[in-house]
Amino acid sequence: MKLAVLSGKGGTGKTLVSVNLAAVAKESVYVDCDVEEPNGHLFFKPTDVKTKKVVNKIPVVDEDLCLGCRKCVDFCKFNALAAIVDKLLVFDDICHACGGCIMLCPSNALSEKDKVIGVINSGVSEAVKVISGVLNTGEVSGVPIIKALLKKIADEKRLTVIDCPPGSACVVMESIRDADYCILVAEPTVFGLSNLILVHELVKIFNKPYGVVINKGMEGENLIDTYCLENKIKVLSKIPFDCELGTLNSEGEIASKIEPYHSIFSALLQAVMKEVQDETIAYS
């Protein structure tokens, strides 16, 4: 089963929830899809790490063969090719690797080369398999790395927790595509609510079952509680604002190794499992 953890707003506790869910499950896989800023490995400190490069297919020009017809330049929707004084230039960074220019070239002057855009690191940390995607700095799109990550776990039978990037754009959409259940982590601030509304819309578009975790809860009226109540959204867990939890997390410690955090995250995992089961029954 695959659980995706997302939030819209950054810094609400996606990685905290993902890492600890994977840690309290007996056997599990943790996948870090926040390839721009992956952090899960800082907590798991996995050993036996194997690194695999992720490449994009980028066109290269053979100047001797190029006729200067500009067909490729006119075709490229991303403006990744330009003909300047009869010389064809390729802008690697904005190329989407669609392959169109190569198919079009009448003189076979274009071929493809592999360009490394990042890596996938796989290692182990106790009973957790830890897989992280890392985009090279200066690279524009992490989508090919996320696709490679999800391919890697496509047939995974163990409980798999997918730590998503912030926001609600293409990278988040890719990350939740294969998920069986989505956990939306929200903090009770006006910013947190505004961004929860966005990801709520996103999971509805993709028809995913979902529930909310309220992190950094304070006493008194809670914006997220009210929103969830009004929209009939299941609140899976409320993690109170807690300086000790903050310190453990800032030191890169897995909080659920000690109490009371072990109980908090075990209860969350149980709540999620129950939701998923109910979903399965409802749809079968």
Binding site: G8, K9, G10, G11, T12, T15, D34, E36, E37, N39, L42, F43, F75, K77, F78, H96, A97, C98, G99, G100, M103, L104, L135, T137, G138, E139, V140, S141, G142, V143, P165, P166, G167, S168, A169, C170, V171, V172, M173, E187, T189, V190, F191, S194, N195, L198, E201, L202, I205, F206, M218, L223, C243, G246, T247, N249, S250, E251, G252
Partner: protein, 288 residues
């Protein structure tokens, strides 16, 4: 006009909180929110007027004319994004997977596929007393970098001779961040004292340096972990990156934000600290 961009790498470190305080302190009349996936600056700096709204057209999306379609499979074979779906022998294109490259349109032997313009978001421009440019990306769209570029273009479309523009950025290091960095005079990084915050700060600094953009660093919620705060300051020193100050965690700051106010609208410790950060940042910005 000098443009100051506020970034962080990691999300939730306080970009918008710092940006809104800076807008108040500088009395800047020009600002923008480049976090088009999850914009929040409009919640921190309330506007009384209504914005001008414009649809944002991102990359076009392919559409199959099922009447013409010969079901030859060439589009399926050639699409690198697996966007062509075949359900019950009917061909259609998943708009969330289509990147608008036009390969399917090119290979279709019966011209059954056409690229159609696609609305990927909305641009908003407030232009009465202040110029505030912001946008909202449509859920799951893939053109946030293009939209960020439009937000900045919109911000600069009105020239009233202002000297300063403050731009709130997005988390991460990818396309929207890179699009926001282009052309700004300086980047202020709001770092957080945690292992994650430091790792992310290092990656955003490297990204900014790739584009040769002057970068300075401040630490938010510094008292959450004093050791890590020191590690950030040491890192800055070792890498010759100006450090412009630190802001404590402050409950009244959270309350201020929840009430639609900025840090400097209420009397609080964090507000006083952000004034010092602001002073140092402006000195660095005007120095180059």
């Amino acid at each position: 006009m000098k443009q100051l961009l506020i970034l962080s790498g990691k999300g939730g470190t306080g970009k918008t909180t710092v940006a809104s305080a800076f807008i108040k302190l500088s009395q800047a009349k020009v600002y923008a929110d480049c976090d088009v996936d999850a914009p929040n600056l409009h919640l921190a700096i309330k506007q009384t007027s209504q914005p001008k709204r414009n649809d944002f057209f991102g990359m076009p999306k392919a559409e199959v004319n099922t009447i013409l379609c010969a079901k030859c499979d060439r589009c399926v074979e050639n699409c690198r994004f697996d966007a062509v779906q075949v359900v019950d022998n009917n061909y259609w294109i998943d708009p969330y997977l289509c990147e608008g490259c036009g390969v399917c349109e090119m290979v279709c032997p019966v011209r059954a596929i056409n690229l159609k313009p696609h609305i990927s978001g909305e641009l908003m421009l407030y232009d009465k007393d202040v110029i505030f440019s912001t946008a909202q990306l449509k859920m799951g769209s893939g053109t946030s970098g293009m939209l960020v570029t439009e937000v900045k273009k919109q911000m600069k479309s009105i020239d009233r001779g202002d000297e300063l523009a403050i731009i709130d950025g997005s988390p991460g290091i990818g396309c929207p961040v890179i699009a926001s960095i282009s052309g700004v005079d300086m980047v202020l990084i709001v770092a957080e004292p945690s292992v994650s915050g430091i790792s992310d700060m290092e990656r955003i600094i490297k990204t900014a340096q790739t584009f040769h953009t002057k970068t300075v660093v401040c630490v938010n919620k510094y008292d959450a972990n004093l050791k890590k705060t020191k590690a950030i300051i040491d890192y800055c020193q070792a890498h010759d990156i100006p450090y412009v100050g630190k802001i404590p965690y402050d409950k009244s700051a959270v309350e201020a934000v929840n009430n639609g106010l900025t840090l400097v609208d209420v009397f609080c410790e964090a507000g006083a600290a952000v004034q010092v950060v602001f002073g140092n940042t402006m000195e660095m910005l005007l120095r180059n």
